[in-house]
Symmetry: C2
Subunit: 142 residues, 2 copies
């Protein structure tokens, strides 16, 4: 007898559903606090965590398409949260770096992020939280 298909147990669906729920919970925070989009938050976080880097680097680290990175960088630049510096040896490249204000917004959102993470951890329990993280990491490497 042939296995039955169940949309709600189907991993792509289940993952997307969960991801949206969890992502939106945190998106509320950076949207309300700074009117930021998801792309902008990711670019900010990558710059905050890994320091000065090129748009290409940001794209690799965030998984964002280069046009999204370009637009997000431009938008964050408009707030004066980052500055660009052209590489002297390779003038196609711009090193992108947070300003003091950008750094400060990043730190403020980090705190919120850590608190949010903790909320999820409390809900799942430490053991399940770790297990989930590990499993997602494993699946990511497929």
């Amino acid at each position: 007898m042939t296995e039955k298909f169940d949309l709600h147990g189907f991993l792509p669906f289940l993952l997307h559903h969960t991801s949206e729920k969890v992502s939106l919970g945190f998106a509320d925070i950076y949207r309300d606090r700074y009117k930021m989009t998801r792309s902008e938050w990711r670019v900010l976080a990558t710059l905050g965590q890994y320091g000065a880097q090129t748009a290409t680097d940001i794209g690799i680290r965030t998984g964002l398409h280069k046009t999204k990175v370009s637009r997000a960088v431009h938008s964050i630049e408009t707030r004066r949260w980052l500055k660009r510096r052209q590489d002297e040896n390779d003038r196609r490249i711009h090193l992108i770096e947070l300003t003091r204000q950008g750094e400060s917004a990043f730190l403020s959102l980090c705190q919120a992020g850590i608190a949010y993470n903790q909320k999820v951890r409390d809900f799942l329990g430490d053991k399940d939280f770790e297990a989930l993280t590990t499993l997602l990491g494993k699946l990511n490497s497929m």
Copy 2:
């Protein structure tokens, strides 16, 4: 000492990243085979699995916004994969139902879905696959 924030270990990010990866793997299939979008696939799958229902029901089951449902239903209707029937008692309501062709496309994608699920299960191993499904379900109920 204050905990350090790590974007790549941050659940909203990790989940989204994994979800995109896994979703896109299956999206390739329905896109290549039928030029369907994700919304259309979800609507089709919900109709296939739960039978005739209203647009509102579909929205609840898929988590899609009603405008997305409306557009997806319209688009699938154009292919003649579903038909609508106005409720006689409440004329705001339309019961939506797959046609024979819609049913057949659904069954074909179910097979592909089951195969895809199996591929992921093979990669993770039965135990981890079950664990992941359970954890996602738990997180979903947060």
